[in-house]
Protein backbone atom coordinates (compact mmCIF):
# COMPACT_ATOMS: atom_id res chain seq x y z
CA UNK A 1 0.00 0.00 0.00
CA UNK A 2 2.81 2.39 0.85
CA UNK A 3 4.05 2.11 -2.76
CA UNK A 4 0.95 3.76 -4.20
CA UNK A 5 1.30 6.74 -1.87
CA UNK A 6 4.88 7.31 -2.94
CA UNK A 7 3.93 7.20 -6.59
CA UNK A 8 1.14 9.71 -6.16
CA UNK A 9 3.47 12.11 -4.40
CA UNK A 10 5.89 11.81 -7.24
CA UNK A 11 3.16 12.59 -9.74
CA UNK A 12 2.35 15.87 -8.12
CA UNK A 13 5.93 16.83 -7.50
CA UNK A 14 6.57 20.00 -9.54
CA UNK A 15 10.30 19.31 -9.53
CA UNK A 16 9.97 16.17 -11.62
CA UNK A 17 12.19 16.09 -14.67
CA UNK A 18 10.01 15.76 -17.75
CA UNK A 19 12.61 15.61 -20.48
CA UNK A 20 12.63 12.11 -21.91
CA UNK A 21 15.86 10.17 -21.42
CA UNK A 22 18.34 10.64 -24.22
CA UNK A 23 18.57 8.10 -26.99
CA UNK A 24 21.92 6.97 -25.73
CA UNK A 25 20.57 6.50 -22.23
CA UNK A 26 17.56 4.55 -23.46
CA UNK A 27 19.81 2.31 -25.50
CA UNK A 28 21.98 1.77 -22.47
CA UNK A 29 18.99 0.89 -20.28
CA UNK A 30 17.81 -1.52 -22.93
CA UNK A 31 21.20 -3.13 -23.25
CA UNK A 32 21.47 -3.40 -19.49
CA UNK A 33 18.13 -5.15 -19.31
CA UNK A 34 19.37 -7.71 -21.82
CA UNK A 35 22.92 -7.75 -20.52
CA UNK A 36 23.15 -11.53 -20.57
CA UNK A 37 21.93 -11.57 -24.13
CA UNK A 38 24.52 -8.92 -24.99
CA UNK A 39 27.18 -11.12 -23.41
CA UNK A 40 25.98 -13.97 -25.61
CA UNK A 41 26.10 -11.69 -28.65
CA UNK A 42 29.63 -10.77 -27.71
CA UNK A 43 30.72 -14.42 -27.50
CA UNK A 44 29.07 -15.38 -30.77
CA UNK A 45 30.36 -12.31 -32.61
CA UNK A 46 33.86 -13.10 -31.39
CA UNK A 47 33.48 -16.68 -32.61
CA UNK A 48 32.21 -15.57 -36.01
CA UNK A 49 35.08 -13.12 -36.40
CA UNK A 50 37.53 -15.85 -35.43
CA UNK A 51 35.96 -18.25 -37.91
CA UNK A 52 36.31 -15.75 -40.76
CA UNK A 53 39.70 -14.32 -39.89
CA UNK A 54 41.50 -17.37 -38.51
CA UNK A 55 43.94 -17.74 -41.44
CA UNK A 56 45.25 -14.24 -40.62
CA UNK A 57 45.04 -14.11 -36.85
CA UNK A 58 45.96 -17.68 -35.85
CA UNK A 59 49.55 -17.92 -34.61
CA UNK A 60 50.40 -21.12 -36.51
CA UNK A 61 49.27 -23.51 -39.22
CA UNK A 62 46.54 -25.90 -37.99
CA UNK A 63 48.02 -28.90 -39.77
CA UNK A 64 51.71 -28.25 -39.31
CA UNK A 65 53.28 -30.86 -37.07
CA UNK A 66 56.33 -30.08 -34.99
CA UNK A 67 57.61 -33.25 -33.40
CA UNK A 68 60.31 -31.38 -31.50
CA UNK A 69 57.64 -29.37 -29.71
CA UNK A 70 54.96 -31.95 -29.05
CA UNK A 71 52.84 -31.91 -25.87
CA UNK A 72 54.09 -28.47 -24.87
CA UNK A 73 52.13 -26.85 -22.00
CA UNK A 74 50.41 -23.45 -22.23
CA UNK A 75 52.57 -20.33 -21.96
CA UNK A 76 52.14 -19.70 -18.23
CA UNK A 77 53.51 -23.09 -17.26
CA UNK A 78 57.14 -24.21 -17.14
CA UNK A 79 58.28 -25.17 -20.61
CA UNK A 80 55.54 -23.27 -22.40
CA UNK A 81 56.07 -20.30 -24.63
CA UNK A 82 54.33 -17.69 -26.72
CA UNK A 83 55.09 -19.64 -29.90
CA UNK A 84 52.29 -21.98 -28.87
CA UNK A 85 50.14 -19.94 -26.43
CA UNK A 86 47.89 -22.84 -25.38
CA UNK A 87 50.49 -25.54 -25.89
CA UNK A 88 50.65 -28.28 -28.50
CA UNK A 89 49.08 -31.69 -29.05
CA UNK A 90 50.58 -35.15 -29.42
CA UNK A 91 52.12 -34.38 -32.82
CA UNK A 92 53.14 -30.82 -31.99
CA UNK A 93 50.27 -28.93 -33.60
CA UNK A 94 49.34 -25.58 -32.07
CA UNK A 95 46.24 -26.02 -29.90
CA UNK A 96 45.14 -22.39 -30.08
CA UNK A 97 45.31 -22.42 -33.87
CA UNK A 98 43.34 -25.65 -34.09
CA UNK A 99 40.70 -24.34 -31.70
CA UNK A 100 40.39 -21.19 -33.80
CA UNK A 101 39.91 -23.21 -36.98
CA UNK A 102 37.49 -25.44 -35.08
CA UNK A 103 35.04 -22.52 -34.82
CA UNK A 104 34.50 -22.89 -38.57
CA UNK A 105 33.44 -26.53 -38.24
CA UNK A 106 31.23 -25.92 -35.20
CA UNK A 107 29.43 -22.92 -36.67
CA UNK A 108 29.04 -24.62 -40.04
CA UNK A 109 27.64 -27.81 -38.50
CA UNK A 110 25.47 -25.92 -36.01
CA UNK A 111 23.88 -23.62 -38.56
CA UNK A 112 23.38 -26.14 -41.37
CA UNK A 113 22.01 -28.85 -39.08
CA UNK A 114 19.55 -26.37 -37.62
CA UNK A 115 18.60 -25.38 -41.18
CA UNK A 116 17.64 -29.00 -41.90
CA UNK A 117 15.77 -29.28 -38.59
CA UNK A 118 13.90 -26.08 -39.36
CA UNK A 119 12.73 -27.26 -42.77
CA UNK A 120 11.63 -30.71 -41.59
CA UNK A 121 10.35 -29.69 -38.17
CA UNK A 122 8.53 -26.50 -39.10
CA UNK A 123 7.13 -28.12 -42.25
CA UNK A 124 5.68 -31.11 -40.43
CA UNK A 125 4.55 -29.01 -37.48
CA UNK A 126 2.63 -26.54 -39.65
CA UNK A 127 1.02 -29.38 -41.61
CA UNK A 128 -0.05 -31.11 -38.39
CA UNK A 129 -1.34 -27.94 -36.82
CA UNK A 130 -3.14 -26.67 -39.90
CA UNK A 131 -4.90 -29.81 -41.06
CA UNK A 132 -5.45 -31.44 -37.65
CA UNK A 133 -7.33 -34.72 -37.59
CA UNK A 134 -5.62 -37.73 -39.14
CA UNK A 135 -2.68 -35.71 -40.49
CA UNK A 136 -2.04 -34.40 -37.00
CA UNK A 137 -2.31 -37.86 -35.44
CA UNK A 138 0.17 -39.37 -37.88
CA UNK A 139 2.69 -36.57 -37.57
CA UNK A 140 2.34 -36.42 -33.78
CA UNK A 141 2.88 -40.15 -33.61
CA UNK A 142 5.99 -39.73 -35.74
CA UNK A 143 7.23 -36.99 -33.39
CA UNK A 144 6.65 -39.28 -30.41
CA UNK A 145 8.66 -42.01 -32.09
CA UNK A 146 11.56 -39.65 -32.64
CA UNK A 147 11.45 -38.57 -29.01
CA UNK A 148 11.48 -42.16 -27.78
CA UNK A 149 14.60 -42.86 -29.80
CA UNK A 150 17.79 -42.23 -27.83
CA UNK A 151 19.23 -39.49 -30.03
CA UNK A 152 22.85 -40.58 -29.81
CA UNK A 153 22.16 -44.15 -30.89
CA UNK A 154 20.05 -43.03 -33.84
CA UNK A 155 22.57 -40.43 -34.96
CA UNK A 156 25.41 -42.92 -34.49
CA UNK A 157 23.62 -45.57 -36.53
CA UNK A 158 22.89 -43.04 -39.25
CA UNK A 159 26.50 -41.92 -39.41
CA UNK A 160 27.63 -45.56 -39.41
CA UNK A 161 25.29 -46.28 -42.34
CA UNK A 162 26.18 -43.14 -44.29
CA UNK A 163 29.87 -43.20 -43.39
CA UNK A 164 31.57 -40.64 -41.17
CA UNK A 165 32.11 -37.26 -42.85
CA UNK A 166 31.27 -33.63 -42.24
CA UNK A 167 28.34 -33.71 -44.63
CA UNK A 168 26.83 -36.90 -43.18
CA UNK A 169 27.29 -35.57 -39.68
CA UNK A 170 25.19 -32.54 -40.59
CA UNK A 171 22.55 -34.76 -42.19
CA UNK A 172 22.45 -37.10 -39.18
CA UNK A 173 22.10 -34.21 -36.73
CA UNK A 174 19.43 -32.55 -38.85
CA UNK A 175 17.42 -35.73 -39.30
CA UNK A 176 17.41 -36.63 -35.62
CA UNK A 177 16.87 -33.35 -33.79
CA UNK A 178 13.88 -31.72 -35.51
CA UNK A 179 11.00 -32.76 -33.17
CA UNK A 180 11.39 -29.65 -31.02
CA UNK A 181 10.68 -27.44 -34.04
CA UNK A 182 7.74 -29.59 -35.05
CA UNK A 183 6.15 -29.37 -31.61
CA UNK A 184 6.47 -25.60 -31.38
CA UNK A 185 5.29 -25.07 -34.97
CA UNK A 186 2.33 -27.38 -34.42
CA UNK A 187 1.09 -25.72 -31.25
CA UNK A 188 1.56 -22.22 -32.64
CA UNK A 189 -0.16 -23.06 -35.91
CA UNK A 190 -3.14 -24.42 -34.00
CA UNK A 191 -3.27 -21.14 -32.15
CA UNK A 192 -3.22 -19.03 -35.34
CA UNK A 193 -5.46 -21.28 -37.40
CA UNK A 194 -8.69 -19.99 -35.93
CA UNK A 195 -7.70 -16.33 -35.99
CA UNK A 196 -9.33 -13.82 -38.27
CA UNK A 197 -6.50 -13.28 -40.71
CA UNK A 198 -6.38 -17.00 -41.54
CA UNK A 199 -10.15 -17.19 -41.83
CA UNK A 200 -10.03 -14.16 -44.13
CA UNK A 201 -7.40 -15.77 -46.30
CA UNK A 202 -9.43 -18.94 -46.47
CA UNK A 203 -12.61 -17.14 -47.43
CA UNK A 204 -10.66 -15.47 -50.25
CA UNK A 205 -10.15 -18.98 -51.57
CA UNK A 206 -6.39 -19.16 -51.10
CA UNK A 207 -4.88 -22.62 -51.25
CA UNK A 208 -3.84 -24.22 -47.96
CA UNK A 209 -0.23 -24.17 -49.12
CA UNK A 210 -0.37 -20.43 -49.71
CA UNK A 211 -2.02 -19.82 -46.34
CA UNK A 212 0.55 -21.93 -44.54
CA UNK A 213 3.53 -20.38 -46.30
CA UNK A 214 2.44 -16.76 -46.57
CA UNK A 215 0.14 -16.24 -43.62
CA UNK A 216 1.05 -18.69 -40.88
CA UNK A 217 4.79 -19.19 -41.33
CA UNK A 218 5.67 -15.48 -40.92
CA UNK A 219 3.85 -15.50 -37.60
CA UNK A 220 5.83 -18.52 -36.42
CA UNK A 221 9.19 -16.99 -37.23
CA UNK A 222 9.80 -15.41 -33.85
CA UNK A 223 9.15 -18.65 -31.96
CA UNK A 224 11.19 -20.62 -34.45
CA UNK A 225 14.09 -18.20 -34.14
CA UNK A 226 14.08 -18.68 -30.36
CA UNK A 227 13.98 -22.47 -30.66
CA UNK A 228 16.56 -22.30 -33.43
CA UNK A 229 19.08 -20.34 -31.39
CA UNK A 230 18.99 -22.87 -28.59
CA UNK A 231 19.07 -25.67 -31.17
CA UNK A 232 22.31 -24.30 -32.60
CA UNK A 233 23.88 -24.59 -29.14
CA UNK A 234 22.64 -28.14 -28.86
CA UNK A 235 23.84 -29.03 -32.35
CA UNK A 236 27.31 -27.70 -31.55
CA UNK A 237 27.43 -29.90 -28.44
CA UNK A 238 26.08 -32.91 -30.33
CA UNK A 239 28.59 -32.41 -33.12
CA UNK A 240 31.33 -32.52 -30.53
CA UNK A 241 29.87 -35.71 -29.05
CA UNK A 242 29.82 -37.50 -32.39
CA UNK A 243 33.26 -36.22 -33.34
CA UNK A 244 34.51 -37.27 -29.90
CA UNK A 245 33.27 -40.78 -30.61
CA UNK A 246 35.03 -40.77 -33.97
CA UNK A 247 31.77 -40.62 -35.90
CA UNK A 248 31.96 -37.05 -37.05
CA UNK A 249 34.53 -34.92 -38.75
CA UNK A 250 37.53 -37.00 -39.67
CA UNK A 251 41.15 -36.18 -38.81
CA UNK A 252 43.13 -34.09 -39.47
CA UNK A 253 40.37 -31.47 -39.87
CA UNK A 254 40.33 -29.61 -36.55
CA UNK A 255 37.04 -30.15 -34.73
CA UNK A 256 36.63 -29.50 -31.02
CA UNK A 257 35.08 -32.89 -30.30
CA UNK A 258 37.88 -34.74 -32.02
CA UNK A 259 40.51 -32.64 -30.25
CA UNK A 260 38.85 -33.62 -26.98
CA UNK A 261 39.03 -37.29 -27.84
CA UNK A 262 42.71 -36.91 -28.71
CA UNK A 263 43.26 -35.00 -25.49
CA UNK A 264 41.47 -37.66 -23.48
CA UNK A 265 44.34 -40.06 -24.10
CA UNK A 266 46.73 -37.57 -22.48
CA UNK A 267 44.48 -36.29 -19.70
CA UNK A 268 46.54 -37.83 -16.92
CA UNK A 269 49.58 -35.66 -17.67
CA UNK A 270 48.74 -33.09 -20.36
CA UNK A 271 45.45 -31.74 -19.00
CA UNK A 272 45.38 -28.75 -21.34
CA UNK A 273 44.73 -30.84 -24.43
CA UNK A 274 41.33 -31.95 -23.15
CA UNK A 275 40.51 -28.70 -21.36
CA UNK A 276 40.71 -25.90 -23.92
CA UNK A 277 38.60 -27.39 -26.73
CA UNK A 278 35.89 -28.04 -24.13
CA UNK A 279 35.99 -24.42 -23.03
CA UNK A 280 35.50 -23.42 -26.66
CA UNK A 281 32.42 -25.65 -26.93
CA UNK A 282 31.14 -24.29 -23.63
CA UNK A 283 31.55 -20.65 -24.65
CA UNK A 284 29.80 -21.10 -27.98
CA UNK A 285 26.92 -23.08 -26.49
CA UNK A 286 26.59 -20.59 -23.64
CA UNK A 287 26.60 -17.67 -26.08
CA UNK A 288 23.85 -19.21 -28.17
CA UNK A 289 21.75 -20.07 -25.10
CA UNK A 290 22.09 -16.55 -23.70
CA UNK A 291 20.98 -15.07 -27.01
CA UNK A 292 18.11 -17.55 -27.10
CA UNK A 293 16.95 -16.58 -23.60
CA UNK A 294 17.09 -12.88 -24.44
CA UNK A 295 15.22 -13.38 -27.72
CA UNK A 296 12.58 -15.38 -25.88
CA UNK A 297 11.92 -12.44 -23.57
CA UNK A 298 12.10 -10.00 -26.44
CA UNK A 299 10.06 -11.70 -29.13
CA UNK A 300 7.53 -14.00 -27.64
CA UNK A 301 5.94 -13.63 -24.24
CA UNK A 302 4.04 -16.89 -24.80
CA UNK A 303 7.21 -18.93 -24.78
CA UNK A 304 8.58 -17.50 -21.58
CA UNK A 305 7.35 -20.19 -19.29
CA UNK A 306 8.24 -23.22 -21.38
Amino acid sequence: MSGSIEISQELFDPQIDETPPSRFKRMFVYMWRYRLGMLGMFFITALCITAVLCPWIAPNDPYEQDIMNMLKPPFWMDGGGMDYPLGTDQVGRCLLTRIMYGTRISLLVGLSAVGIMLVIGAGLGILAGYFGGATDSIISFFINCMMGFPFILLAMSLVAVLGPSLQNLIIALGLTSWPVFARVARVETMRFKSQDFVLAARSLGYSPLRIMARHILPNLLSSLVVVGTVAVARAIIRESILSFLGLGVQPPIPSWGMMLSEGRGYMLMQWWMATFPGIAIFVSALGMNLIGDALRDLLDPYLRKT
Binding site: I152, L153, A233, M267, G278
Partner: protein, 306 residues
Protein backbone atom coordinates in the same frame (compact mmCIF):
# COMPACT_ATOMS: atom_id res chain seq x y z
CA UNK B 1 -8.66 -43.06 -16.60
CA UNK B 2 -8.81 -46.58 -17.96
CA UNK B 3 -9.38 -45.44 -21.53
CA UNK B 4 -6.60 -42.91 -21.18
CA UNK B 5 -4.14 -45.58 -20.05
CA UNK B 6 -5.22 -47.96 -22.79
CA UNK B 7 -4.85 -45.28 -25.44
CA UNK B 8 -1.40 -44.32 -24.20
CA UNK B 9 -0.42 -47.99 -24.03
CA UNK B 10 -1.35 -48.49 -27.68
CA UNK B 11 0.65 -45.41 -28.63
CA UNK B 12 3.65 -46.70 -26.69
CA UNK B 13 3.53 -50.09 -28.40
CA UNK B 14 3.26 -48.32 -31.75
CA UNK B 15 6.29 -46.18 -31.00
CA UNK B 16 8.30 -49.27 -30.04
CA UNK B 17 7.26 -51.02 -33.26
CA UNK B 18 8.30 -48.08 -35.43
CA UNK B 19 11.63 -47.80 -33.63
CA UNK B 20 12.34 -51.50 -34.05
CA UNK B 21 11.42 -51.18 -37.73
CA UNK B 22 13.67 -48.19 -38.30
CA UNK B 23 16.62 -49.85 -36.61
CA UNK B 24 16.02 -53.06 -38.56
CA UNK B 25 15.89 -51.33 -41.92
CA UNK B 26 18.91 -49.21 -41.10
CA UNK B 27 20.78 -52.45 -40.63
CA UNK B 28 19.36 -53.92 -43.79
CA UNK B 29 20.31 -50.90 -45.85
CA UNK B 30 23.80 -50.97 -44.60
CA UNK B 31 25.14 -54.48 -44.56
CA UNK B 32 24.72 -57.91 -45.97
CA UNK B 33 24.68 -60.18 -42.90
CA UNK B 34 25.81 -63.10 -45.08
CA UNK B 35 29.03 -61.29 -45.92
CA UNK B 36 29.56 -60.40 -42.27
CA UNK B 37 28.99 -63.94 -41.01
CA UNK B 38 30.84 -65.95 -43.66
CA UNK B 39 34.61 -66.00 -44.04
CA UNK B 40 35.88 -63.71 -46.82
CA UNK B 41 36.97 -66.62 -49.03
CA UNK B 42 33.43 -68.06 -49.30
CA UNK B 43 32.27 -68.89 -52.84
CA UNK B 44 29.22 -67.24 -54.34
CA UNK B 45 27.32 -70.56 -54.29
CA UNK B 46 28.10 -70.95 -50.60
CA UNK B 47 26.81 -67.46 -49.93
CA UNK B 48 23.60 -68.20 -51.84
CA UNK B 49 23.14 -71.47 -49.95
CA UNK B 50 23.83 -69.77 -46.63
CA UNK B 51 21.35 -67.01 -47.40
CA UNK B 52 18.72 -69.61 -48.21
CA UNK B 53 19.39 -71.52 -44.99
CA UNK B 54 19.28 -68.37 -42.86
CA UNK B 55 16.23 -67.04 -44.65
CA UNK B 56 18.12 -64.00 -45.89
CA UNK B 57 16.77 -64.41 -49.43
CA UNK B 58 13.24 -63.59 -48.31
CA UNK B 59 11.68 -60.14 -48.74
CA UNK B 60 12.84 -57.61 -46.15
CA UNK B 61 9.41 -57.23 -44.63
CA UNK B 62 9.14 -60.99 -44.01
CA UNK B 63 12.57 -60.97 -42.42
CA UNK B 64 11.55 -58.06 -40.23
CA UNK B 65 8.39 -59.81 -39.06
CA UNK B 66 10.41 -62.92 -38.34
CA UNK B 67 12.93 -60.87 -36.34
CA UNK B 68 10.12 -59.18 -34.45
CA UNK B 69 8.46 -62.53 -33.68
CA UNK B 70 11.71 -63.92 -32.27
CA UNK B 71 12.35 -60.80 -30.19
CA UNK B 72 8.86 -60.58 -28.76
CA UNK B 73 8.26 -64.28 -28.14
CA UNK B 74 11.70 -65.55 -27.18
CA UNK B 75 13.78 -62.45 -26.44
CA UNK B 76 16.01 -63.70 -29.25
CA UNK B 77 17.93 -60.80 -30.79
CA UNK B 78 20.06 -63.04 -32.99
CA UNK B 79 23.80 -63.54 -32.74
CA UNK B 80 26.64 -61.07 -32.66
CA UNK B 81 28.56 -60.81 -35.93
CA UNK B 82 31.81 -60.63 -34.04
CA UNK B 83 31.65 -62.98 -31.05
CA UNK B 84 28.90 -65.24 -32.52
CA UNK B 85 27.35 -65.29 -29.03
CA UNK B 86 23.63 -64.65 -28.53
CA UNK B 87 23.07 -60.90 -28.30
CA UNK B 88 20.51 -61.27 -25.54
CA UNK B 89 22.98 -62.76 -23.07
CA UNK B 90 25.51 -60.02 -23.73
CA UNK B 91 22.88 -57.35 -23.17
CA UNK B 92 21.44 -59.07 -20.11
CA UNK B 93 24.85 -59.18 -18.47
CA UNK B 94 25.50 -55.48 -19.13
CA UNK B 95 22.08 -53.99 -18.58
CA UNK B 96 22.29 -54.00 -14.74
CA UNK B 97 25.39 -51.78 -14.91
CA UNK B 98 23.65 -49.30 -17.20
CA UNK B 99 20.50 -49.29 -15.09
CA UNK B 100 22.52 -48.75 -11.93
CA UNK B 101 24.26 -45.73 -13.42
CA UNK B 102 21.12 -44.33 -15.03
CA UNK B 103 19.09 -44.78 -11.87
CA UNK B 104 21.66 -43.12 -9.65
CA UNK B 105 22.00 -40.20 -12.09
CA UNK B 106 18.22 -39.97 -12.27
CA UNK B 107 17.87 -39.86 -8.49
CA UNK B 108 20.70 -37.36 -8.16
CA UNK B 109 19.28 -34.99 -10.79
CA UNK B 110 15.73 -35.15 -9.49
CA UNK B 111 16.59 -34.91 -5.82
CA UNK B 112 18.86 -31.92 -6.27
CA UNK B 113 16.54 -30.41 -8.87
CA UNK B 114 13.47 -30.61 -6.67
CA UNK B 115 15.06 -29.57 -3.37
CA UNK B 116 17.10 -26.70 -4.78
CA UNK B 117 14.32 -25.73 -7.18
CA UNK B 118 11.76 -25.40 -4.39
CA UNK B 119 14.22 -23.51 -2.22
CA UNK B 120 15.04 -21.12 -5.10
CA UNK B 121 11.39 -20.40 -5.69
CA UNK B 122 10.64 -19.79 -2.00
CA UNK B 123 13.69 -17.65 -1.39
CA UNK B 124 13.66 -15.87 -4.72
CA UNK B 125 16.79 -13.88 -5.64
CA UNK B 126 18.61 -15.24 -2.59
CA UNK B 127 22.17 -16.47 -2.88
CA UNK B 128 21.01 -20.05 -3.44
CA UNK B 129 18.56 -18.96 -6.12
CA UNK B 130 21.13 -16.92 -8.01
CA UNK B 131 23.67 -19.70 -7.71
CA UNK B 132 21.25 -22.31 -8.97
CA UNK B 133 20.26 -20.12 -11.92
CA UNK B 134 23.91 -19.72 -12.72
CA UNK B 135 24.55 -23.45 -12.41
CA UNK B 136 21.58 -24.19 -14.67
CA UNK B 137 22.88 -21.73 -17.25
CA UNK B 138 26.38 -23.18 -17.15
CA UNK B 139 25.13 -26.75 -17.06
CA UNK B 140 23.07 -26.33 -20.19
CA UNK B 141 26.08 -25.15 -22.14
CA UNK B 142 28.54 -27.75 -20.88
CA UNK B 143 29.11 -30.85 -22.95
CA UNK B 144 28.60 -33.73 -20.53
CA UNK B 145 31.51 -35.85 -21.59
CA UNK B 146 33.86 -32.91 -21.27
CA UNK B 147 32.55 -32.28 -17.77
CA UNK B 148 33.30 -35.95 -17.07
CA UNK B 149 36.85 -35.55 -18.30
CA UNK B 150 37.31 -32.44 -16.18
CA UNK B 151 36.00 -34.34 -13.14
CA UNK B 152 38.49 -37.10 -13.85
CA UNK B 153 41.37 -34.64 -14.13
CA UNK B 154 40.33 -32.76 -11.00
CA UNK B 155 39.16 -35.45 -8.57
CA UNK B 156 40.94 -38.45 -10.02
CA UNK B 157 44.30 -37.16 -11.16
CA UNK B 158 45.01 -34.03 -9.09
CA UNK B 159 43.25 -34.74 -5.81
CA UNK B 160 43.28 -38.55 -6.15
CA UNK B 161 40.05 -38.78 -4.19
CA UNK B 162 38.00 -40.96 -6.49
CA UNK B 163 38.58 -43.79 -8.94
CA UNK B 164 38.43 -42.61 -12.55
CA UNK B 165 37.27 -45.70 -14.39
CA UNK B 166 35.69 -49.10 -14.05
CA UNK B 167 33.10 -50.32 -11.62
CA UNK B 168 32.98 -52.12 -8.30
CA UNK B 169 32.67 -49.92 -5.24
CA UNK B 170 30.26 -47.08 -4.54
CA UNK B 171 33.11 -44.64 -5.06
CA UNK B 172 33.25 -45.75 -8.69
CA UNK B 173 29.69 -44.54 -9.09
CA UNK B 174 30.29 -40.95 -7.96
CA UNK B 175 31.94 -39.35 -10.99
CA UNK B 176 29.80 -41.09 -13.66
CA UNK B 177 26.67 -40.18 -11.71
CA UNK B 178 27.71 -36.53 -11.52
CA UNK B 179 28.55 -36.53 -15.23
CA UNK B 180 25.32 -38.11 -16.38
CA UNK B 181 23.13 -36.42 -13.79
CA UNK B 182 24.27 -32.88 -14.51
CA UNK B 183 22.99 -33.32 -18.05
CA UNK B 184 19.46 -33.55 -16.64
CA UNK B 185 19.82 -31.19 -13.73
CA UNK B 186 19.54 -27.74 -15.43
CA UNK B 187 16.17 -28.49 -17.01
CA UNK B 188 14.82 -29.92 -13.75
CA UNK B 189 16.02 -26.95 -11.74
CA UNK B 190 14.43 -24.45 -14.10
CA UNK B 191 11.17 -26.36 -14.35
CA UNK B 192 10.74 -26.85 -10.61
CA UNK B 193 11.61 -23.23 -9.91
CA UNK B 194 9.33 -21.69 -12.52
CA UNK B 195 6.53 -24.13 -11.71
CA UNK B 196 6.75 -23.33 -8.00
CA UNK B 197 6.86 -19.58 -8.68
CA UNK B 198 3.64 -19.87 -10.68
CA UNK B 199 1.92 -21.92 -8.05
CA UNK B 200 3.05 -19.91 -5.02
CA UNK B 201 1.14 -16.86 -6.28
CA UNK B 202 -2.15 -18.76 -6.47
CA UNK B 203 -4.95 -18.07 -4.06
CA UNK B 204 -5.18 -21.61 -2.73
CA UNK B 205 -1.68 -21.27 -1.35
CA UNK B 206 -2.75 -18.17 0.53
CA UNK B 207 -5.77 -20.10 1.76
CA UNK B 208 -3.60 -22.97 2.91
CA UNK B 209 -1.34 -20.59 4.78
CA UNK B 210 -4.31 -18.76 6.24
CA UNK B 211 -5.62 -22.06 7.53
CA UNK B 212 -2.48 -22.18 9.62
CA UNK B 213 -0.86 -25.12 7.89
CA UNK B 214 2.83 -25.51 8.53
CA UNK B 215 5.06 -24.10 5.80
CA UNK B 216 6.54 -27.49 4.76
CA UNK B 217 3.04 -28.87 4.40
CA UNK B 218 1.97 -25.91 2.26
CA UNK B 219 5.05 -26.20 0.07
CA UNK B 220 4.99 -29.95 -0.44
CA UNK B 221 1.34 -30.91 -0.38
CA UNK B 222 -0.27 -27.86 -1.89
CA UNK B 223 2.37 -26.16 -3.98
CA UNK B 224 4.75 -28.81 -5.25
CA UNK B 225 2.03 -31.30 -6.06
CA UNK B 226 0.73 -28.83 -8.63
CA UNK B 227 4.12 -27.72 -9.84
CA UNK B 228 5.19 -31.34 -10.28
CA UNK B 229 3.16 -32.16 -13.38
CA UNK B 230 5.40 -30.55 -16.01
CA UNK B 231 8.41 -31.86 -14.09
CA UNK B 232 7.08 -35.42 -14.26
CA UNK B 233 6.29 -35.19 -17.97
CA UNK B 234 9.64 -33.72 -18.87
CA UNK B 235 11.50 -36.15 -16.61
CA UNK B 236 9.81 -39.01 -18.44
CA UNK B 237 10.88 -37.55 -21.77
CA UNK B 238 14.41 -37.08 -20.51
CA UNK B 239 14.81 -40.82 -19.94
CA UNK B 240 15.68 -41.29 -23.60
CA UNK B 241 18.30 -38.56 -23.32
CA UNK B 242 19.59 -40.09 -20.09
CA UNK B 243 20.09 -43.49 -21.71
CA UNK B 244 21.59 -41.85 -24.77
CA UNK B 245 23.93 -39.94 -22.47
CA UNK B 246 24.95 -43.20 -20.85
CA UNK B 247 26.55 -44.21 -24.16
CA UNK B 248 29.10 -41.46 -23.87
CA UNK B 249 29.42 -41.42 -20.07
CA UNK B 250 30.10 -45.14 -20.06
CA UNK B 251 32.74 -44.72 -22.69
CA UNK B 252 34.47 -41.91 -20.78
CA UNK B 253 34.52 -43.88 -17.51
CA UNK B 254 35.06 -47.35 -19.01
CA UNK B 255 31.75 -48.37 -17.43
CA UNK B 256 30.81 -51.88 -18.60
CA UNK B 257 27.23 -51.12 -19.65
CA UNK B 258 25.03 -51.44 -22.71
CA UNK B 259 25.92 -47.96 -23.95
CA UNK B 260 29.60 -48.68 -24.32
CA UNK B 261 28.75 -52.00 -25.90
CA UNK B 262 26.53 -50.26 -28.45
CA UNK B 263 29.30 -47.81 -29.29
CA UNK B 264 31.81 -50.62 -29.79
CA UNK B 265 29.26 -52.50 -31.89
CA UNK B 266 28.70 -49.49 -34.15
CA UNK B 267 32.43 -49.11 -34.64
CA UNK B 268 32.85 -52.79 -35.50
CA UNK B 269 29.73 -52.99 -37.66
CA UNK B 270 28.15 -55.52 -35.30
CA UNK B 271 24.59 -54.54 -36.18
CA UNK B 272 22.53 -57.13 -34.30
CA UNK B 273 24.09 -55.70 -31.13
CA UNK B 274 23.30 -52.12 -32.18
CA UNK B 275 19.73 -53.05 -33.03
CA UNK B 276 19.22 -54.80 -29.73
CA UNK B 277 20.66 -51.88 -27.80
CA UNK B 278 18.45 -49.40 -29.66
CA UNK B 279 15.34 -51.50 -29.03
CA UNK B 280 16.25 -52.04 -25.38
CA UNK B 281 16.90 -48.34 -24.73
CA UNK B 282 13.78 -47.27 -26.57
CA UNK B 283 11.72 -49.79 -24.65
CA UNK B 284 12.95 -48.36 -21.35
CA UNK B 285 12.49 -44.78 -22.52
CA UNK B 286 9.00 -45.39 -23.85
CA UNK B 287 7.98 -47.23 -20.69
CA UNK B 288 9.30 -44.33 -18.63
CA UNK B 289 7.32 -41.89 -20.77
CA UNK B 290 4.20 -43.96 -20.31
CA UNK B 291 4.62 -44.16 -16.54
CA UNK B 292 5.24 -40.42 -16.38
CA UNK B 293 2.07 -39.71 -18.36
CA UNK B 294 0.02 -42.03 -16.17
CA UNK B 295 1.44 -40.47 -13.03
CA UNK B 296 0.67 -36.99 -14.34
CA UNK B 297 -2.87 -38.08 -15.19
CA UNK B 298 -3.30 -39.48 -11.71
CA UNK B 299 -2.32 -36.16 -10.17
CA UNK B 300 -4.15 -33.92 -12.61
CA UNK B 301 -7.60 -35.11 -13.72
CA UNK B 302 -7.64 -32.57 -16.57
CA UNK B 303 -5.01 -34.56 -18.47
CA UNK B 304 -7.14 -37.71 -18.51
CA UNK B 305 -9.97 -35.99 -20.31
CA UNK B 306 -7.92 -34.40 -23.04
Amino acid sequence: MKTYIIRRLFQAVGVCLVISMVSFFLLFLNTDPALMLLPPEAEIEDIELFKKQMGLDRPVIVQYLDYLRKVVLHGDFGESFISKEPVFEEIASRLPHTLKLALSAFIFANLVGVVVGIFSAVKRYSLVDNLSTLVALIGQATPNFWFGIMLIIFFGVWLRWLPISGTGTWAHLVLPTLTLGTGMLPVNLRLVRSGMLDVLNQEYIRTARAKGLSEPKVLIKHAFKNAAIPVITVTGMQLAALLGGSVITESVFAWPGVGRMALEAIRLGDYPMVQAAVIMFSLIAVTGNLLADILAALIDPKIRLE
